[in-house]
C-alpha cells in the first residue's frame, strides 16, 4: 500500500461518495488509486468550482464535501472556493497535491505554498511530511471540518508522500487534539437566565442564521418558536429555517431584507440571535440592537460572541443541543399583542414594485417558480440582484435555499447546484443566476453533461452586472462604469445547443407559468433565460 492508496482508503472510511476535482501531475498517484475504489470522481472544468460543488453537497447532506486538485495553479484556483466555504462555515476537506518534499521551497514547476496562502481561510491545514501520518491526519481533518464551528480543512500531500510505501494502515477510531475541544452543550445557568428573561419579555424575537442549518437545529427551533409563539426573522444564511409562509416567520432582516423584519427586530425587547455573526449586511448598526433590548447570542464559536456586538446573555454551544435543553424547561411566555402588531406590519409594509410589462418581473416570476417547484426542491441563488430577488420572493416550503452569503462569490450557484444534485439525486435542484454570474461558471455546463447531473439553470438576463449597476445608479447618479455586458454575452440558446441542453426563453410574464411547467416537467438539465428589464432594481 502506498500513501495515495491510504488517502483513498481514508475517504472510504469517512463514507465519502464523491470527490470533485481536477488532476495534475502532483495529484496523479491519488487519482490513480481512486480508480480501484467505489468513490466517484467528478471532473469539473476549473478548480474553484470543485470547492463550490463540494460545498453544495455538504450543505444538503450534512457530510463533509471533498475536493482534490493538483499543486500550484490547481491549488491557488481553489482558494476562492475555500474562502467562500469558510465565510459560510461549510465543512469541507480539500486535498492538494504538492511537489516532492525535497523540492519544497525551491520554487520548482507548479509549486505554491498553499498551506501558507489559505491560512486565513481554513479552519486548519496540514502539510503531510510522512506517509504513515496519513490516516491520523485524515481522521483529524474530517473531525475538525465537521465539528464545532464547521469549516474547510486543507491537506497538502507532496507527490513522494503519495508514492511512499505504508506498512500498516490503521484508521484511528478516535481523535485526540489537545487544543481542540469545542463547547457543544450550553451552560445551564445561562439557559435559565434566558428563560427568566423570556418570561418577562413583552416583545421577544428569534433571529436565526446559517448556524441553525449547520447544527441541524431546524426542527428544534421551529418547535420552540411554535410552542412559545416567538416570532422568527432570519439572516440571508438563515432563510429556510422557517417555511416562508409559516405564521411565525417574519422575513429576512438586513439592508436587502424586508422592512417589516427589520422593524420587528428593532422593536423587540428581547432578541435571541442564534448561529448568526451580526455581519454588516444583516445588521448595519450593531450597537443599536443592544440599546433597547436584551440580546441573547447563541453561537458554537465563542469568538463570535462579542465580536460585532456585546450581548446581554452570551450562550456558547451548538444550537441543536441548546434548543433541546430549552425544550426540557417549562415556562410561560405571553405576548399576543406583539404578534398581532407584527402581523399588521407584515400585511401593510409591503414593498411596491412597478414592473415593466414588457419584461419578466423577477419578483413575480420567482414566486411563481416557487409554487411550481417540488416542495422539497433545493433552490441555489447566485450573487447579485438575482440573489436579492430570490431571498425576498422565493417561497421556501420543505426544501432548502442556498447561496454564498458571507463571501458573496459570483458563479457559486451552478457548481453548488451540481454538488447538491450529485449528493442527492432524488432532489429537484434549481440554480438561479444573473447573466454576469452565469458567465463566471458556465464552463460547468460541460461537467453537468459529462457526468449526467440534471440541474435546472435559470439566467436572469438584464445585460448588466445588475447589482453594481444599481449601486452606481444610487451612489454615482447613473454614471455607469464597467458594468455593461450586453455586447459580449453569448447567445444562450446557441450556447445551450452547443452542449445539447434544452433551452427555454421567457420574454415576459404572459406565458411564464406554462414555460416554468415545461422547464420543470422532467428531471433533466435545462437552461432557461428570463429577459429582465435592464433598469430593474431590487429596492
Amino acid at each position: 500500500m502506498i500513501g495515495a492508496d491510504a488517502m483513498v482508503k481514508c475517504l472510504e472510511k469517512e463514507g465519502v461518495t464523491t470527490v470533485y476535482g481536477y488532476p495534475g501531475v502532483a495529484i496523479c498517484p491519488f487519482y490513480n488509486s481512486i480508480l480501484d475504489s467505489e468513490v466517484k470522481t467528478i471532473l469539473v472544468r476549473t478548480e474553484q468550482n470543485a470547492a463550490h460543488a463540494a460545498s453544495g453537497e455538504a450543505r444538503v447532506t450534512g457530510n463533509v464535501g471533498v475536493c482534490a486538485v493538483t499543486s500550484g495553479p490547481g491549488a491557488t484556483n481553489l482558494i476562492t472556493g475555500i474562502a467562500t466555504a469558510f465565510a459560510d462555515s461549510i465543512p469541507m476537506v480539500c486535498i492538494t497535491g504538492q511537489v516532492k518534499s525535497e523540492l519544497i521551497g525551491s520554487d520548482v514547476f507548479q509549486e505554491a505554498d498553499i498551506t501558507g496562502a489559505v491560512e486565513s481561510f481554513v479552519k486548519y491545514s496540514y502539510l503531510v511530511k510522512n506517509a504513515e501520518d496519513i490516516p491520523r491526519i485524515f481522521k483529524e481533518a474530517f473531525y475538525i471540518a465537521n465539528s464545532g464551528r464547521k469549516g474547510p480543512v486543507l491537506i497538502d500531500v507532496p507527490i513522494d508522500i503519495q508514492n511512499a510505501a505504508i506498512k500498516n494502515f490503521k484508521y484511528p477510531e478516535e481523535v485526540n487534539i489537545r487544543a481542540y475541544k469545542p463547547t457543544i452543550k450550553g451552560h445551564i445557568v445561562q439557559i435559565k437566565k434566558v428563560i427568566k428573561e423570556l418570561e418577562k419579555a413583552k416583545r421577544p424575537i428569534i433571529c436565526a442564521g446559517g448556524g441553525v442549518h449547520l447544527s441541524d437545529a431546524v426542527p428544534e427551533l421551529r418547535a420552540f418558536a411554535h410552542k412559545y409563539r416567538i416570532p422568527v426573522v432570519s439572516t440571508m444564511m438563515g432563510i429556510g429555517v422557517m417555511p416562508t409562509e409559516d405564521p411565525m416567520y417574519f422575513g429576512m432582516v438586513g439592508n436587502n431584507g424586508k422592512a417589516y423584519a427589520n422593524r420587528a427586530m428593532n422593536e423587540s425587547d428581547l432578541m435571541i440571535m442564534v448561529g448568526a455573526r451580526v455581519a454588516d449586511r444583516a445588521i448595519s448598526q450593531p450597537d443599536l440592537i443592544t440599546t433597547n433590548k436584551i440580546l441573547v447570542h447563541i453561537d458554537v464559536d465563542p469568538a463570535e460572541i462579542g465580536k460585532n456586538v456585546g450581548p446581554s446573555i452570551p450562550l456558547v454551544g451548538d444550537a441543536k443541543h441548546i434548543f433541546d435543553d430549552f425544550a426540557k424547561e417549562e415556562f410561560t411566555c405571553e405576548h399576543e399583542e406583539w404578534i398581532a402588531a407584527l402581523e399588521g406590519y407584515r400585511n401593510t409594509m409591503i414593498q411596491k414594485r412597478n414592473p415593466n410589462p414588457e419584461y419578466v418581473d423577477p419578483a413575480a416570476f420567482i414566486t411563481m417558480l416557487s409554487h411550481e417547484m417540488k416542495e422539497d426542491a433545493v433552490y441555489v441563488a447566485d450573487v447579485g440582484q438575482n440573489q436579492i430577488w430570490s431571498c425576498n420572493y422565493h417561497i421556501v416550503k420543505k426544501g432548502r435555499f442556498l447561496t454564498s452569503g458571507g463571501m458573496g462569490t459570483m458563479g457559486y450557484s451552478i457548481p453548488a447546484a451540481m454538488g447538491v444534485k450529485s449528493g442527492d439525486m432524488s432532489k429537484q435542484v434549481i440554480a438561479v443566476c444573473g447573466d454576469g454570474s452565469f458567465q463566471m461558471s458556465m464552463m460547468e455546463l460541460a461537467t453537468i453533461m459529462q457526468h449526467h447531473i440534471p440541474v435546472k439553470i435559470i439566467v436572469m438576463k438584464n445585460n448588466y452586472l445588475g447589482m453594481v449597476r444599481e449601486f452606481q445608479h444610487y451612489t454615482y447618479k447613473d454614471n455607469y462604469s464597467v458594468v455593461d455586458i450586453k455586447d459580449g454575452t453569448p447567445n444562450l440558446e446557441k450556447l445551450a445547443a452547443a452542449y445539447d441542453i434544452p433551452f427555454i426563453r421567457v420574454e415576459n410574464m404572459s406565458h411564464a407559468q406554462e414555460k416554468i411547467r415545461e422547464f420543470l416537467a422532467e428531471d433533466n438539465t435545462m437552461l432557461m433565460e428570463c429577459l429582465v428589464d435592464p433598469m430593474d432594481l431590487v429596492k
Binding site: 498551506t115 501558507g116 491560512e119 486565513s120 479552519k123 486548519y124 502539510l127 475538525i144 487534539i177 489537545r178 487544543a179 481542540y180 464559536d301 465563542p302 469568538a303 462579542g306 465580536k307 456585546g310
Partner: protein, 160 residues
C-alpha cells in the same frame, strides 16, 4: 490599554506564522513577541504584548483560543506580572566616554560582556521600562547595534 498574553502552543513548524498572521489579519497590534520552548519540548510559550480597547483585548484572547495549535492562553495586566527583557547593546567607546559608560552600567546594573579596543557589548536584563531608560542613556554616547528579546512575563505568585 496594554495587555500581556502568555500563549502555550504546539511546538511545530508554522505555528509562529499562524499566530503572528492572526494579529496582522485582524489588525491587532503586536508591541512585542518572544517565543521559547517550555519544560515540555512539544510545547512552546509565546509571550505577546499587545494593546487596544476592551473589545480588541477580548477578541485577541478568543481568536487565539480558536487556533487549533494554541493549547492555552493566559492573559494578564503588566501590574499583575513579573516582566523582563534582555538587551545586548554594542557601543563604540573612547578614552573620554569609557568612564561614563561604565558608570551607566553600574547604575543600571548592566554588565559588560565583551570588549575590543573600540567597542564593547553591554548586557542588561530588566523591566521593559528600564531597558528603555538604558537605551536612552547610551543613545547620547554611541550605539553601534542593539538586539532585544522582547518582553517575557509570568503572572505574579499568589497564594490561594
Amino acid at each position: 490599554m496594554k495587555r500581556i498574553y502568555s500563549v502555550l502552543v504546539e511546538n511545530r513548524a508554522g505555528v509562529l506564522c499562524k499566530v503572528s498572521g492572526l494579529f496582522s489579519r485582524r489588525c491587532f497590534n503586536i508591541d512585542s513577541l518572544a517565543v521559547g520552548e517550555t519544560d515540555d519540548p512539544e510545547v512552546s510559550c509565546m509571550t505577546i504584548v499587545s494593546s487596544g480597547n476592551q473589545r480588541t483585548i477580548e477578541q485577541i484572547e478568543k481568536q487565539l483560543n480558536k487556533k487549533l495549535d494554541v493549547i492555552k492562553v493566559k492573559t494578564f495586566d503588566e501590574k499583575d506580572s513579573i516582566s523582563r527583557e534582555l538587551m545586548l547593546i554594542k557601543v563604540k567607546y573612547n578614552r573620554s566616554t569609557r568612564r561614563d559608560i561604565m558608570e551607566i552600567c553600574e547604575i543600571m546594573k548592566a554588565d559588560i560582556v565583551d570588549m575590543s579596543n573600540t567597542n564593547m557589548i553591554i548586557q542588561i536584563c530588566d523591566m521593559p521600562e528600564r531597558i528603555k531608560v538604558m537605551l536612552d542613556m547610551l543613545k547620547s554616547i554611541s550605539i553601534v547595534e542593539v538586539a532585544r528579546t522582547g518582553t517575557l512575563a509570568l503572572p505574579k505568585c499568589v497564594d490561594n
